[in-house]
Amino acid sequence: MKVSMTCLTKAAAMIVSLALPFAQAASAAEPLSAIGKGEGALNIVAWEGYAQDDWVKPFEAKTGCKVNRKYAGSSDEMVALMRSGGGGQYDLVSASGDATLRLIYGHNVQPINIALIPAWTNFIPALQGPSFNTVKGVHYGVSYEWGPNTLLYNTQKVTPVPTSWSVIYDEANKGKITVPDNPIQIADAALYLSKTDPSLGITDPYELTQPQMDAVVTLLKKQRPLIRKYWALASDEIDLFRNGDVTLGAAWPYQTNTLQAAKVPVADTLPTEGVTGWADTWMVSAKSPHPNCAYEWINYVTTPYVQAQQAIYFGETPANTLACAEMDKQQAGSCKQYHADAGASYFDQIHFWKTPLKACGNGQSNCLDYGAWQRAWQEIKG
């Protein structure tokens, strides 16, 4: 069997022609006008701790929508999953404020008919139409819960109780520190620098110019040899604390709650420099195969009862103001503990995650966009 040269060329040409793209139009979906019969299944992308059996099982029993969960540990991962395979794999995502706009402008999510979400009228005003999920008056999602990124520490090994983020940049704690493996972590360092080095002029930790970014990168590169591990999965940090590998870390309240439940001596605190945080939104995929189940889910998880379950489980604050009483019913004092009664002043203290853009808030356009943040992060962790 002789293979001639022309034959090979032809074969190669054929293979390349298979590899050439053809355009694919994105469809603009109209919001649902009424919730119809459930489709029997629901594929969701959620943060760890956002789809617990405690409320997934009752939801399945009530609506007949079988929930298929996929966990993601960063906003980037959520965006990638919602876009994977051209979209249409997943129905819902619990996107944080730094992912929502990317999903909206990428046409990956559909507008929401807010009239179909009765709990919405009871949301705190700041979350009824926040700029990160509502564009030109069109709602692209329904707010869910929000909370701060905390400083987690081992209560037996770390004394006195830390009050500043400086402990995670301190040579004395070498090899005992863990921070998230996530470019948005740059904002935490920027927030710290905005207080410790005012001359840099950092006003918003998500709006960094090149010289400001250089200073942050220098700080984080100096931090690298002190790090035991950059945690990528929530369980990484849980294991690191449980097995004595680290005593300090940047964390979510989820890790604190899970570790405390397992009787590991840890506590978390909000350092004086301030904290970053998240405000999450349930968004429906533009190509959602099960939109009715998606709406059913949003309605179910925004009820005061589930809002309270979620808040207590993860250690965060519900969007629905009616959840406060329900929280105290489920766990005495939890409404106050998780700030469900605190209102606007506490909300304003948290520097919520948002997507870094070229345009700074002050009208200038010399800030670094998220692509630059990702590259800087790769450079930092090496």
Binding site: M1, K2, V3, A19, P21, F22, Q24, N43, E48, G49, Q52, N68, R69, K70, Y71, G73, S84, G85, G86, G88, Q89, Y90, L233, A234, S235, I238, D239, R242, N243, T258, L259, A262, V264
Partner: protein
Amino acid sequence: MRFDLAKTLLWASVIVILLFLFVPVAIIMVYAFSASNIQGWPIQSFSLQWFARTFADDEVRAALFLSVEVAVVATALAMLMGLLAALAVYRLRGPGSEAIAFAVVLPIALPGILTGMALNSYFVLWGINLSFWTIVIGHGTFCTVIVYNNVIARLRRLPPSWAEASGDLGAGPWRTFRLITLPMLGSALGAGALLAFALSFDEVIVTTFTAGAQTTLPLWIFGAIRLGQHLPEVNVVVCVVILLTILPVLLAQRLMGRAALLHK
């Protein structure tokens, strides 16, 4: 005397290597009985609760069934295509044959992440939604090469005179194949299929890139690890899978060992 010392040392290293291979497996099995959902050493208290929970967990069951389905379909495809490819490449002569023999092993010689991301971007390009079948496509390719390798290795060691004799005795090619070639290839095909099944069943990297919302068992395990809430369920599942496979694997090895002896 000196030779015996060498032999003793060799046997000792075999034991050490077996320990190296099996200590982690033993640890997995022991943690299935841990009471706590967060794993630390040593285990504080023991319990059977995770067995009950795992058997009641319908997500685990669905993931297990999906993995078996994928592995069965991928292995069946691989047996057919691997056999065909081996028979053809074995007969190939000439300048093209070397290149083809080289190209065919690429799917197992190149890292899975290449296959995975190549397929992923390829499916996106064509607007193909990720599904059960895209997983099967990803697995089928490397499984085919596994089967192919086993079969072609056997073919190269078979005396061609057998098939010729059959032809001389008037048997057609199909009959020769059915009565002579296939039985002689049987155990190689079986060994290839077993390995292909095992690799497909436990594949993570290619699957991560080719699965959509489908959750195979390894993907479920990865989810459980990242969530960190019900880790011992992972240990229970692995225990059960080992117990279910240990007998077939042992049996297959014995049968193949016997077949190999017969051929000598």
